[in-house]
Symmetry: C2
Subunit: 509 residues, 2 copies
């Protein structure tokens, strides 16, 4: 029997179909069990939900992901057959039962995740098991590999490929907008993909999107990098390690990020763009994802080792993330601050310091001696700005853009101190919540500008920071939310630099 | 702004609404985040899914559970406001982080579960955390209490109330259909609620439904018990411990049943019917839920202790469950076998032995000396059959029903031995799979009849068991599935009897 397809435009994450209750009973299928959908030349497995009215008898309701997956077949009807739950559910149970999984077993799970073949329930069981039981390095490596292999990959015609990534939690971390042009201006290739905000005030993709197009295709990422050395793209527009995106979907509502998962997530996305040399930024401090130096060290060692096994030279920088980086947070405001730094008008030293230091390590990994000095020269000489203009042009932005052109939200409120004293601390999480309340990242003009940061002297009644918003009501909500806050400044942002295994001593140009 | 309600007849387990993508963006709400639905005199929290076409701008799609919850308000439109995820998600994370939860914290979680306030993701995180981190006895007791308090309860006008329950995994365990009439015939009150099959061949509710109405209301359960002493009702028709049903919904696809969860699940449902004396049957053996004697003992001690804290006298019987109980499995076939036993025409000794032994323990808990002897007399004298006829009448069955009236499926196949020898083992799980393939429990005539069981001699070509089905194709599938099988028989089914804390030494009539 063939069932008539009814498209239902809901995106449920996994492959879900809705069956009429009578049809489901006839097939002996319950809610959350699985069926095979048999279309001409393509069969996929989907998870069943049941309705008595949304679909009629003889109809099958197909949610967005299923419709997309069957689009190529042009089918108007499908055969439906009950089927067993996938073997990977047994393997998830094996992990729950505290067993080490083999490479093949991990690949089986990751494949089913990438194929939208697991329910939220099964996927969550996998994530919570990884949180509580964990994975060893061998398993983590297999998971990384499987994530890469179940998605698209890029291979540049130029090599070697450089890349970097910041682990989350430090607001205002717009250094990508400086590091990429500096590194590219030094002649290295850096195809940087970035994410949008999940729980932060804004991600690099949100920031750069205010001044350029970030939804690039794989071909564009490749060609722009090959041509001008660097690109700043949104990772969500390409299909790198799609299993990771599915996993993040269930991690987010639980605010969980299991140790092995974090490593595999970052490494898979770097491997997918073919990175040969990779620098990891681990901001530590209250409110960051990795709060302790000791844990940051452990991550560093494990990232380096996984890199070694994946043939990628990894170095890590543990950086100061105890307060926001620079003076601006929010999409337009961060783009503005980054452009100011490139123009030599940095409103704070910390963005420039951190960017130059990170770019310097990348340059040394690329065989360029005195990397930090060279990076600073590239920035000071205007070469980085020139490179940024090339990137803006390649990504459909305005190559003549000036920081003064970038305007924050038109509604603003100054928050003043109610006593004299020195700023002693600044709470990342609370600031992020205020920025989000003001509308960030959706309202691109929303955000915060810090007038004072940690260590600075402050008089009673003196403004501490300014909240910007595109919308008056949201500004009010944000102002109401800001009952307690403090700012400050740091000079050298890098607390420690772990130079990798030494196996590859840096690329000689 | 008011959103127009569009009913969407899908039962997703939790409270789910579908928002148009533009509205969701405007509100700043993502998939799986929460909104408050504000109707006249009632506000509920729901989880958001997003669609670009299923609902128009200004509409809100309401899935079944939400529609039901707002029905009383008669609202055609609702206000919608983004809201935070519930505090219980933090508490689930606290459990994942290996903390002991307080009674209040557990109540918070269970309330949110009962109110359909947690997503499948959050609920699964709770179940997997309970599996891996576990709960101590104090937490288990709080969970049990919270489950009872968040559902309906019955209080009989008669007391004390007796009850029993078999932990799963032993196929053919139709003893409820003997134990209830024996115990009721002895003058005790036993309002027995039972479940339908989830992964077994059939549950007691499936069996008794073939000869009586099991979907009883709370009032019916109460009045029938008060009037004739016993009832056999389907627990799913009443709202006892609804949080447990929500938890089972996510446990089932993972085949997980965390230790504390099993205890709370059983005890909450017994407490909800007001049980004072409760006998737990723990079948052990390959393929049962509790496979090891040692684990069964631990369960027994903990059930007894939780009972003590809930003011319920609990005893446990560890029973033999290494092969099916009796000779029939499948809904009609088990009803038939139970009636045969009540009529004194038992096709096997094991059903009668186990039923009489279990009923005997219950009678002794009720202060009746020589319980087993009394139970056997009640059965042999026909008093149990007479009581069953009263129960059948009260539950809209045929009070004159005879076992011969109950017919198995009209299609059958004998499975014969391909060698001489003694039956040495019999695999519960494989037999269940064959019975389900034949159509059980949906096709009520489907099932198996064992001609030989463990220990019996068998000649080559002699039939071992018969598969019955209501449908010819399903019979074929079942026959194909039966490549390997064996049967047997036992005399005394009870391996050990743990007589509780001794604090209450049995009720003196």
């Amino acid at each position: 029997m063939k069932y008539k397809i009814k498209e239902i435009n809901v995106d449920a994450g996994e492959f879900t179909v809705i069956l009429n209750a009578k049809d489901a009973k006839e097939m002996g299928v319950r809610s959350l069990e699985r069926v095979k959908l048999i279309a001409p030349k393509k069969t996929i497995t989907a998870i069943v939900e049941i309705s008595t009215s949304l679909v009629k008898e003889g109809e099958v309701g197909m949610l967005l992901k299923v419709t997309e997956a069957l689009k190529e077949t042009g089918a108007k009807t499908v055969g439906i057959m009950p089927t067993e739950r996938p073997y990977s559910v047994e393997l998830i149970k094996k992990k729950i039962d505290n067993h080490v999984l083999t490479g093949e077993e991990i690949r089986e799970i990751i494949q089913d995740i990438a194929n939208h073949n697991l329910t939220d329930i099964e996927l969550t069981a996998f994530v919570v098991a990884n949180q509580l039981v964990g994975m060893n390095l061998e398993e983590t490596m297999h998971m990384t590999k499987a994530m890469v292999e179940t998605g698209d990959t890029i291979e540049l015609d130029k090599s070697p490929v450089f890349d970097f990534h910041s682990i989350g939690g430090a607001p205002g971390n717009k250094i990508t907008l400086l590091v990429v042009p500096i590194v590219a201006a030094a002649g290295l290739y850096i195809p940087k993909t970035s994410s949008r905000a999940i729980s932060s005030a804004c991600g690099t993709a949100d920031i750069f999107e205010t001044i350029a197009r970030v939804g690039l295709s794989m071909d564009e990422i490749k060609s722009i990098t090959e041509e001008i050395g660097g690109v700043i793209a949104w990772g969500g527009n390409v299909n790198f390690a799609p299993a990771d995106d599915m996993i993040i979907r269930v991690e987010y509502p639980l605010s969980l990020d299991p140790y092995a998962q974090l490593i595999a997530s970052v490494m898979a996305k770097k491997k997918a763009v073919g990175s040969d040399f990779f620098l990891l930024d681990i901001p530590i401090g209250p409110g960051t994802k990795v709060t302790e130096h000791e844990l940051a060290n452990k991550y560093a060692q494990d990232f380096i080792e996984i890199g070694r096994r994946l043939d990628m030279h990894v170095e890590c920088a543990i950086t100061y993330g105890g307060q926001p980086i620079g003076k601006h947070i929010g999409p337009s405001l961060e783009a503005k601050e980054a452009m100011m730094c490139l123009e030599g008008k940095a409103p704070s030293t910390s963005v420039v310091e951190k960017s130059v230091a990170m770019a310097g390590i990348l340059l040394e990994m690329g065989g360029i001696h005195n990397g930090k000095t060279v990076a600073r020269e590239i920035l000071d000489s205007g070469k980085a700005l020139a490179k940024m203009r090339q990137i803006l042009q390649a990504q459909d932005g305005n190559p003549d853009l000036k920081s003064d052109d970038i305007m924050p939200g038109k509604f603003k409120a100054e928050i003043c101190s109610n006593q004299d004293g020195y700023v002693t601390s600044l709470n990342n999480k609370k600031l992020v919540r205020i920025a989000r309340a003001a509308g960030s990242p959706k309202d691109i003009g929303a955000g915060l500008v810090f007038l004072k940061k940690r260590g600075e002297k402050l008089d009673k009644g003196e403004p501490m920071y300014v909240i910007y918003a595109d919308n008056k009501n949201k500004l009010e909500v944000a102002v109401n939310l800001s009952n307690m806050t403090k700012p400050y400044t740091v000079e050298g942002m890098i607390i420690a630099h772990i130079p990798g295994s030494g196996r590859i001593s840096g690329y000689s140009k």
